[in-house]
Amino acid sequence: MSGSLIGKSVLRKEDHRFVSGKGRYTDDIQLVGLTYAAFVRSPYARADIKSFDVSDALAAPGVIAVLTGEEVAKDGLGGLPCGWMIHSKDGSEMRQPHHPVLAADRVNYLGEPVALVIADTQLEAKNAAELVMVDFEPLTAVVNPATASQAETLYEAVPNNLCYEWELGDEAATEAGLAAAAHVTTLKLTNNRLIPNAIEPRAALAEYNSGTDEIILHTTSQNPHLVRLIMTAFVQIAPEHKLRVIAPDVGGGFGSKIFIYSEETALAWAAKKLGLTIKWTADRSESFLTDAHGRDHVSEAQLALSADGEFLALKVKTVANMGAYLSTFASAVPTYLYGTLLAGQYRTPAIYVEVDSVFTNTAPVDAYRGAGRPEATYLVERIVEKAAAEMGLDPAELRRRNFIGRDQFPYQTPVALEYDTGDYEASLHKALKMADYNTFSARQAEAEARGKLRGIGLSCYIEACGLAPSQVAGALGAGVGLWESGEVRVNPTGSVTVLTGSHSHGQGHETTFAQLVADRLGLPIEDVEVVHGDTGKLDFGLGTYGSRSLAVGGSALSVAADKVVEKGRKIAAHLLRTDVDNIDFDAPVFKMIDSNESKTFQEIAFAAYVNHDYPSEELEPGLAEKAFYDPLNFTYPAGTHICEVEIDPDTGVVEIIQFVAVDDFGTIINPMIVEGQVHGGLAQGIGQALLEQAVYDDTGQLITGSYMDYCMPRADNFPDFKVGMTCTPCTHNPVGAKGCGEAGAIGSPPAVMNAITQALGGIEIDMPATSEKVWRAVQTMPALKTA
């Protein structure tokens, strides 16, 4: 039976509750004695707080309490920390301004919380929040990251608003490569700022039991254990064993629910301080203002090539916007998740990257689907495509000439990573075929006859996923190891409860992980239940991000299942009065090698718990095994995305005619779920390329503060995507999986923009390619093609 569930598109176990309205998201939870919180937020991007006056709010109907930043300071709460230390070129530590749970004397971005009001109803809380009088003295805001280091200093301890000046790679070798080049392609670009917009807004519900002194916090989190760790070890609102964090059904995250925010922290603190049960759910407008945003880079790059198109060196200078404070993982995103990926799929021998991270009076910026890797891919794949155009080479051919060959693995790049395996040519070949690349010129001519501009663009991306080998992460500054834990708990009747430190908020762990374990143990998938998202049920876990769940969390379960089998063999040997070495596990049966006697998995499970005759020194009762899996390396999903667009030169409207994605995710457990992940990632990546951007005005007011102005992709923005797979299994984890959650968002933006650039005859525009930008570019084309 082994192998029968791997690679099968098993329908999702979790779906029935979702399609029938029985999902249980944080805001759905109703508890006796519930009270409601509303936050008072800064209407300015930067201001001094002169005073608070809460008397009117306290007198308002239904109000129970008003807590301000002053109480937070009085109670000595710690700030919200960033978990990844980055060192500047000169060896100095990054500069981290204090990130208060509620601001007391200075606000640094629009929407920053300064107080919370707790009342009997949500309406009363919101009404009273308007009555909290905060005397703000507005200050000039610093908004533009490109000029932030020359602007007024925002924090005394952060000269020039620079968080760090980081570098990676060999500068001298890179300069030498540039000097020796037959051709140098240069590129300037911005990677547009995005707002994650999980459709479930962030929410929290904190209950405090004074009898047990325990806080239970339900919250929209991708990693509840990390929430507990930070709230207890750093903010110090309670001892760790007195805080239980539950992340129930979570309606999408895309990174934005990794981080530990002010609101849930303030709620947990207030619940204990006041002995209350308190709920808060963000309005969408609060989500726009305060969910950590993504991307926001300004970069310049130079690619050195030999006369026959061999990459000699790549030099990159990037300014990354951190926003007003360092969010939980913010510092790692434009450094170790970005600079390390600049080799792409290529043998470029010398690479040097400098990243200046700056503070501005905007919402904190942190990981958003892809996190650093889309920024790297966008830069590399844009400049490679541009080099091909400049040198008159086919962009597919130029890439081929520089690919790391399938026989060159493991491959050490000049930017710290060692790729374990891959076959880039295979993905490129398949994608070109699926896209009918060879006949593109005929389609282009046909479009031209209709007065349309047609372009095709490639993107050969790579990502480092499966975060992360703890030793490597630790050496690079990570505050925590990035292993994952899992437990396979066999119940006495032979059904199995699987506990994982990963968290599912759409990824389908309840199905994929059940497939993995059911397959290993030879059980029907119905007999395997996956439990996640509760610090009260599992010792510790690091959560879901960085496409790590299957590669790391799944590997932990794989190891735990192996341990269950080993224990089962011992029990079988005991029951069958033979040696362990004489027991073979042919899932789901434990067989004696030298006879026909055997025990079923169910018999072993039952015996594990009810037998009375174990030799107690050699064999404990029970059949539940844990594993903490620490990966040996990152995983390296890679692939080729090809986009074909048509531009209406009259209006500048871009239509995606076809989009092909061929990805190598290693071993795939559930192809249906994997394809779904690709579709979703593509929508976000194409959304970044064509539609989405967060815009602040010069004073730090958010112009795109609702769906009226922030353009969310809808169903009618896309064609059906063509998705294909290739497979080189990951060499160093037991599942062979590489991770698939982010690839779509990483590979697609440059494919779209390369297609548009080609259609525009080489004229470059920044994302998003709005119709006006495209129309203006058309106006400057040499042979104007407007009707």
């Binding site: 308007e130 009259d650 209006t651 112009i703 009226m708 102005d709 969310m712 203006r776």
Partner: protein, 265 residues
């Protein structure tokens, strides 16, 4: 949403009486502009007067050559009406393109007109088709109805009862939606009656307006060359993060040209 008192009116005169009895009253039709505005606490009426129970206020009828659409007719109802489709298919198309299907089930023509959102579609229909707005007390021509952004010539307590659309020979509505909100970044209603061209443009300026220079040229000669040299001055047009005034002016002309093509074929 702030607190308010709620009243149902079962006829027009009761509605007006109720309106005049309170400090900060508001009528509610479909509510699909008012409720979001109130939810964001940008509007705080003391009293909300519901017009939904007034009989026949959503009727669609044909009286001779005139199509009469009740103010409370929803966008979905207008779009699906065979009377509307027969009288002026461009009007049905316009209604079918407002918001999304859920919004069209609730939003009303009267509510849209009274609100006069600069990017709404219906103002272009009413102005482009030369409709008349019949209220509880008078008839207002389209040319005098729209005053400024979110402003009309309605009295504060006045209620739109029906909109009368005369027969036109030809009409077409072309919309370039704002990609985020799906409101009109530019919307053009182009009509022809007895050779006379009439063009109303929404989304481009503070309020819907007629493109006089284009109308004149197309009335003289309904062809693309006739408007080749005609332009819309960008100075008076809206500019925002989605489109500059210059781009809006350009889009207006593109849509007018497409309208001319559509009506010429």
């Amino acid at each position: 949403m702030y607190q308010f008192n709620f009243h149902k009116a079962d006829n027009l005169s009761t509605a007006v009486e109720l309106f005049n009895a309170f400090d900060e009253p508001m009528y509610i039709a479909g509510g699909h502009t008012l409720i979001p505005t109130m939810k964001q606490r940008l509007s705080a009426p003391s009293d909300v007067i519901d017009l939904a129970k007034i009989p026949d206020l959503d009727a669609i009828t044909l009286a001779g050559d005139t199509l009469q659409i009740g103010a409370m007719a929803t966008h979905a109802k207008v779009a699906a009406s065979s009377l509307v489709q027969g009288h002026c298919s461009a009007l049905a198309t316009l209604a079918e393109g407002i918001g999304d299907r859920q919004v069209r089930h609730r939003g009303t023509i009267g509510g849209s007109l009274a609100n006069n959102d600069p990017a709404a579609d219906y103002p272009a229909a009413v102005l482009g088709l030369g409709a008349q707005i019949v209220t509880d007390r008078r008839t207002i021509t389209a040319d005098t109805f729209f005053k400024a952004m979110f402003e009309t010539t309605l009295e504060p307590d006045e209620i739109i009862q029906t909109i009368h659309f005369p027969q036109v020979d030809q009409a077409v509505y072309l919309k370039f939606p704002n990609p985020a909100s799906r409101y009109a970044m530019v919307g053009v209603m182009l009509t022809r009656t007895a050779g006379e061209a009439r063009i109303a443009i929404t989304g481009a300026a503070a309020s819907v307006f007629r493109a006089a220079a284009f109308e004149e040229a197309l009335t003289a000669d309904f062809s693309l060359p006739a408007i080749d040299a005609v332009t819309l001055p960008a100075e008076t047009l809206n500019a925002d993060m989605h489109a500059s005034a210059e781009y809006r002016a350009h889009l207006c002309k593109v849509l007018i040209k497409r309208g001319v093509n559509a009506l010429s074929s």
